[in-house]
Amino acid sequence: MDDYQTEEESVEAAIGGNAYQHSRVNQWSTSVVEQCLSQLSKLGKPFKYIVTCIIMQKNGAGLQTASTCFWDNSTDGSCAVRWENKSMYCIVSVFGLAI
């Protein structure tokens, strides 16, 4: 799965040069995820997609994400992108399940 590019662009476009603001984080995470999903659906492949996004303010705390899947290794796959700026981290994961 090579949608690393797609995801990175979507994140950059949606939250680019902004500083973490609690009141806007809802809208940002929604827009990141929706843009990712719309780019993926434009690829026109026979896949179901699950996109998750975690936005965390930088404050010295640690964060760990893990995922495990029960699927068909030959047809399904996942991809995770880590993005950061001076005030926040954003982790986007995409899971693609073949129909």
Binding site: V25, L63, S67, T68, F70
Partner: protein, 120 residues
């Protein structure tokens, strides 16, 4: 010779992915493993991986065959920072669903999301 349609392309009501049942599974596993634990950056990678495997096995045993599962576990330290986790899916809303739960104690928080997608 008689042919009958026995290959299901849609789950019948009993076999649908039930978010409430799965949420209960998640809750039990997480509360049992994380109550009273402190955030330790050395152990957390192993802990989150094993938690995800445990939850996946529990959900599998709850009888959702024909479902592909994706389990995502996020464990973070509590230091007063803001966090937001969101997800969107492009799937068949009739057959697929998800369940999620969040657990918090004084030193860490743990968010788990389980997505189930029917395999036609």
């Amino acid at each position: 010779m008689e042919a009958s349609d026995t290959y299901l392309i849609r789950p019948n009501h009993q076999h649908k992915f039930k978010p409430a049942v799965v949420k209960e599974c998640i809750r039990e596993v997480v509360r049992e493993r994380l109550s009273g634990l402190r955030y330790d950056p050395e152990e957390v990678p192993e802990l989150s991986r094993s938690l995800a495997d445990c939850i996946k096995d529990k959900v599998k045993n709850s009888g959702f065959d024909r479902y592909k599962l994706v389990v995502q576990v996020v464990i973070g330290e509590q230091r007063g920072q803001g966090v937001k986790m969101s997800s969107r899916c492009l799937w068949d809303a009739d057959t697929d669903s998800y369940a999620e739960d969040v657990f918090m104690n004084d030193s860490l928080f743990c968010a788990v999301a389980v997505f189930g997608s029917y395999y036609y």
